[in-house]
């Protein structure tokens, strides 16, 4: 299955802008997907989510928030869109 990932914002002192569709095994959980995607995105997602409350609160699956403790039990489907976002200053 293919899942689109948007990972964007300042994470661990790096500006990340990642928007790609990735092929994942069927039944893959969000937690497993994050392990696979972090190398491609160039950011240690697990560390970032542990350190930043605001990023941990901004994990979305098809536009709805997924709480951090539920990443392991949330399985992805073909065509899903996953966002991990760090807020940026407006003005």
């Amino acid at each position: 299955m293919k899942v689109r990932f948007f990972i964007r914002g300042y994470m661990l002192d790096t500006f990340v802008s990642f928007d790609r569709k990735l092929r994942l095994p069927d039944g893959c959980s969000m937690a497993d997907a994050f392990v696979r995607v972090e190398k491609k995105a160039g950011v240690k997602l697990s560390r970032c989510l542990a350190e930043s409350e605001v990023v941990a609160e901004s994990i979305l699956l098809n536009g709805e928030r997924v709480p951090l403790p539920r990443l392991s039990e949330t399985t992805l489907s073909d065509g899903d869109e996953v966002s991990v976002l760090s807020p940026l200053a407006g003005g």
């Binding site: 689109r4 948007f6 964007r8 914002g9 300042y10 002192d13 790096t14 500006f15 928007d19 930043s52 409350e53 605001v54 609160e57 901004s58 979305l60 536009g63 709805e64 928030r65 869109e81 966002s83 976002l85 760090s86 807020p87 940026l88 200053a89 407006g90 003005g91």
Partner: protein, 700 residues
């Protein structure tokens, strides 16, 4: 702390230091502060000077602080904001006018015709720096001209020039016309457009073509005084107390920004070295319209901001819920998804229209831009790039993914002189009422203002800016429009705090943003200094030498209420000290500047980081006391139920999220020692800050 003098009964015209127009300025104070204000009465066509004591300059700094000090003493309570008796002041910060990094800002203060409250705004633009070069820390204007007037100030000479030929012109046209006879590079221009002339309560003042004192209706104040334009040229320089130390500090600040440039640009900077060589280089680059190439080892923050400014935040904020959409009833991730909609009005998409970068002046970051749309229905030439608020407002909020139409809406706002935040929010209310059938297409003069109809959005923006047809109904913002429509539906759809629409940051995402909306003396504003700098961005208080307990208390959790009142107190005080210094809030983005060291090098003072924060608290108390004196109660500033989640969102990352905004406001008031019911400042705190006599009738 020196005790401030009580309010004076005498009007400023009774000060004994009147000076006939045309005479040269007198002796200027040494050490960063001019120590003088220029007062102008448009009715009597006369001007005079007021001396400001060094104690006042240190206690209140400049900018909003000096402005609040001057207005509190000189503006009678109950003054109609659109009457001749109202006063507005354009005020320089303590660090304005020396090429200080991030100091290309100008500040304005008055009583708002939109909210009836204290009003201030901090914009890019040269006018405050030019005032300082004239030997003044601020210009205060009262009275009303008989006919359209341009106020021209060249050093000490004040001219009241006929502006009949400028009346009716757009801000671009009026500025360009003035620039034909006044050197554009050596003059600060502040002008109003047709919206200000027609006293739209959301009218703005436009500085140097591209920067706006946007919020709270300053354009209407100038319009009510028949003051079309102010132009200031100064040829002097208030001396610095420690020029070498000041220069060294500026170099230290500029270094990481300089290192973010390519070797070529750095070589050019070295070859063309001047006393303020980076400021010179940036002005050169801006003037030549060059894009700034960056190398490989710079802070990503600098690189991203230099390239995209606040536009980089639009897609993320729409998706994560920070940016309200569909007049606060939708969820960006559902109604304006990042992958199909939000990307079209954000960051890289906006970059495609960039002609050149744009600086406020004296800025190593240069985060603004000038854009053109080369052809099509929304063709524009060399207009200001829409930034975060406008892209969210005319884009995501209206479910409009036509970027070129957003550029046009933004240009209409700037060119006609109207606040883009309030205008877009009012459009959102109108679209909601139209979609619900409360307003018909006939009532909208045939404009089919459906969500996402770009053509209609542009047309209604133009109508509001010119008060044409139904635009007159909406030209004073959503609260006034709802009042005129007189229905519950209209009142429900008008999202505002005490008459002013909040900016495009949802308190359900960052709760301290909401505290600012309902507890700052200027309701609905997002640029008043909130603990959300820490809450959202994890930013540490950029005052390393402040008391450790203060630095620690400025850090708070995202969803917890614990410590939020004290954190808000610290951040809002810090922000007001930044305003008093004359700096941009984005100077904090890369960890802040050595603020008090800069001030000390400029002035010769020995200010500590803690005293810097105290100055901010003094400023915040003066702003707040102004409202208390006007009879405004804390309870008058209410968050709209859509802002708090009392009317919950059904979808998206903020679905079901509620924020107890009253609790946060109470916590902030407690931290500031302000009475929750009356707003009165506590006697103890006022005494500690040295303002107990100034606020004698309001403390206790």
């Amino acid at each position: 702390m020196t005790t401030m003098p009580p309010p004076e009964a005498d009007p400023p015209g009774n000060h004994d230091n009147d000076r006939a127009p045309g005479t040269p300025p007198g002796e200027r104070a040494a050490g960063g502060v001019a120590g003088k204000l220029l007062w102008v009465d448009l009715s009597e066509k006369r001007s005079w000077e007021e001396v400001v004591s060094p104690e006042v300059s240190r206690a209140f700094l400049g900018g909003y602080g000096l402005g609040a000090w001057a207005l509190y003493r000189n503006l009678e309570p109950g003054t109609d904001p659109l009457s001749a008796d109202n006063i507005f002041g354009i005020v320089a910060g303590t660090l304005t006018g020396y090429g200080t990094p991030f100091s290309g800002r100008s500040q304005i203060v008055s009583r708002s015709p939109l909210t009836g409250t204290w009003a201030d705004s901090n914009s890019g633009g040269a006018i405050a720096g030019q005032l300082k070069r004239c030997g003044y820390d601020g210009l205060f204007v009262r009275g009303c001209a008989d006919s359209p007037t341009a106020l021209i100030i060249r050093d000490g000479k004040v001219s009241f020039e006929d502006a009949t030929d400028l009346w009716g012109l757009t801000t671009f046209e009026a500025t360009d016309r003035l620039a034909e006879r006044l050197d554009r590079e050596k003059t600060g221009f502040s002008v109003i457009g047709p919206a200000g002339e027609k006293q739209s309560l959301i009218a703005a003042v436009i500085n140097d073509r591209y920067h706006a004192w946007g919020r709270q209706g300053f354009g209407a104040i100038l319009g009510s005084k028949k003051l079309k334009a102010i132009a200031v040229q100064g040829s002097g320089q208030v001396p610095l107390a420690h020029p070498a130390a000041f220069k060294a500090l500026c170099e230290e600040i500029n270094l990481p920004y300089r290192e973010a440039h390519s070797l070529l640009v750095r070589f050019m900077a070295y070859v063309m070295k001047t006393n303020r060589f980076m400021g010179f280089v940036y002005r050169m680059i801006t003037k030549l319209g060059l894009k700034l190439p960056v190398g490989g080892n710079q802070a990503p923050m600098i690189r991203t901001w230099r390239k995209m400014g606040t536009t980089s935040a639009v897609s993320v904020s729409t998706e994560n819920g920070d940016a309200p959409v569909k007049n606060w009833t939708g969820a960006g991730s559902k109604d304006f998804p990042l992958s199909t909609k939000a990307y079209k009005v954000s960051d890289e998409a906006v970059q495609r229209y960039i002609d050149r970068s744009l600086s406020c002046g004296d800025c190593p970051l240069v985060c603004k831009g000038v854009v053109s749309v080369k052809d099509g229905a929304y063709k524009t030439d060399q207009v200001r790039r829409p930034d975060y608020e406008t892209l969210c407002g005319f884009g995501a909020n209206m479910l409009n993914d036509n970027l070129e139409s957003v550029v046009m809406c933004h240009h209409i706002c700037n060119n006609y002189g109207m606040d883009a935040v309030s205008a877009a929010a009012t459009l959102g209310m109108v679209a909601e009422l139209y979609e619900k059938g409360v307003l018909t297409i006939d009532e909208l003069d045939g404009v089919d203002l459906r969500w996402g109809n770009a053509e209609a959005i542009v047309e209604m923006t133009r109508k509001m800016a010119t008060r044409e047809g139904c635009g007159d109904l909406f030209a004073d913002g959503s609260a006034k429009a709802a009042e005129r429509l007189g229905t519950d539906g209209a009142r429900e759809a008008a999202v505002h705090v005490h008459g002013q629409e909040p900016a495009y940051h949802d308190p359900k995402f960052s709760m301290s943003m909401g505290t600012g909306y309902v507890a700052d003396p200027t309701p609905g504003r997002h640029t008043t200094g909130n603990a959300s700098w820490n809450e959202s961005f994890g930013m540490k208080l950029p005052l390393p030498d402040a008391k450790p307990a203060t630095v620690e208390a400025a850090s708070v959790g995202l969803r917890s209420y614990e410590g939020k009142g004290e954190a808000q107190r610290i951040w809002s005080n810090h922000h007001q000290a930044l305003n008093g210094s004359g700096l941009c809030m984005f100077s904090q983005l890369t960890g802040g500047l050595p603020y008090s060291r800069l001030i000390n090098a400029a002035t010769g003072w020995d200010m500590t980081d803690d005293e810097f924060l105290d100055a901010g608290e003094r400023i915040q108390n003066m702003r707040h006391a102004f409202n208390v004196r006007e009879g405004i109660k804390p309870a008058d500033f209410k968050a709209h139920p859509r802002m708090t989640g009392e009317v919950p969102l059904k979808h998206g990352p903020l679905a079901g999220v509620k924020v107890d905004q009253q609790k946060l406001k109470d916590m902030y008031f407690d931290a500031m020692d302000w009475d929750r019911e009356s707003g009165r400042v506590s006697a103890d705190r006022a005494k500690a800050l040295g303002i107990e006599e100034t606020l004698a009738d309001l403390v206790g």
